[in-house]
Symmetry: C2
Subunit: 227 residues, 2 copies
Amino acid sequence: MFSGAQFSIHAMSDNFVDVILGGVRALGSPDDIRLETDDISTLVVGTPQRVFEAMQSAYAESCRLGGHVVLQAHISRGCPGEPDDPLCRPQAAGGSESARANSAGGEGPAATAADVADTADATAAHTASPAAIADPRSVDPIGIPVAAQFSLYPMGTDRYMEVIAAEIEQMKMSGVFDHSKHFCTKLRGDLAKVMAAVHGSFERAAEHAGHVVIQLTVSKGSPSEST
Amino acid sequence: MFSGAQFSIHAMSDNFVDVILGGVRALGSPDDIRLETDDISTLVVGTPQRVFEAMQSAYAESCRLGGHVVLQAHISRGCPGEPDDPLCRPQAAGGSESARANSAGGEGPAATAADVADTADATAAHTASPAAIADPRSVDPIGIPVAAQFSLYPMGTDRYMEVIAAEIEQMKMSGVFDHSKHFCTKLRGDLAKVMAAVHGSFERAAEHAGHVVIQLTVSKGSPSEST
């Protein structure tokens, strides 16, 4: 499986270069994700867990640098047109997902588990265990209040609307639900809780579709009145 | 059919309120689209033709107000979860699409044509005729050079990758193709040509899927080196 995101940080400030690059550079060069930045977005490749963590870290750092800052993220997993990448296998990330991948793929070396997981019907091996999906209500806040909206797209299945509808219901119980809008669901709350809610949707939808896409917008510090 | 977009203009400037609202307010209150702005995005509802025109007009105005300005647009047509809206019927917009809708739906009043077009299998009646899809190579430039990237999602069909692959090939002949990236295709050229290329993909994909989504990012004035 290939999983990752193209994300952009937009800083509404004359000082935008420092705010944007400050966020991206704060990620450093960890060996369990791949980062590539061009003039439009930053690609992050890794397990979904690490992809969400990296986006949250970069954006939080930019938010701390001040002003009205927006994260736009296009997150994807399991696209059939993308190459497999060892970085996207849960065991590369360690932790609780690693344990589950080993139980699904055998106790052998990483390549063995990966071979099993790469069969077409092994999508479930790439989804986090329910225990690994944090309940946004119990996630510790990090002190960055945001508004957000996101859209979920399970690809290649004619039952995708059922998956979307189920996730809208999940969001209503997430503690960060704001309201439904055309084409998307609006959330509001602490950044860490909002990101946990969206990550949860991404993982649960993958139980129904091998290829899942989320489009996410997060906004901090807008001077506009909310409607 | 319901068609529209949630779009956001991001201005990397201390003067961002004037640049963003200057673009959105330049649209005025035309009677053939519906506009709703909140703290994250502006909803525009109308025919795909008018939706693309409105986004281009608003963004172009913001670009003329100066600096590094980004358009993020989430464009959708035919979502089964959205209500029908008369504004989205081609005959409401007049022009060449109106003529085609009438030929498909009969010569009666608008309601008659709309009734026909709203049957589940009449998706094609909502797609623009090939003549109505402007060839980006012959579109007049408007003097705003941009970089862009977009992703196309035909929903509810297991043959969606074929549609996407065909559109990538179309983009290579569009005159604005830059290169393929993970999860998206990068374009570069005059804003009017780039928007025409993306609109073309949106229309052509609708011949294969009733529900089509595009995620589009357009950037003008970035100080970053392109890669």
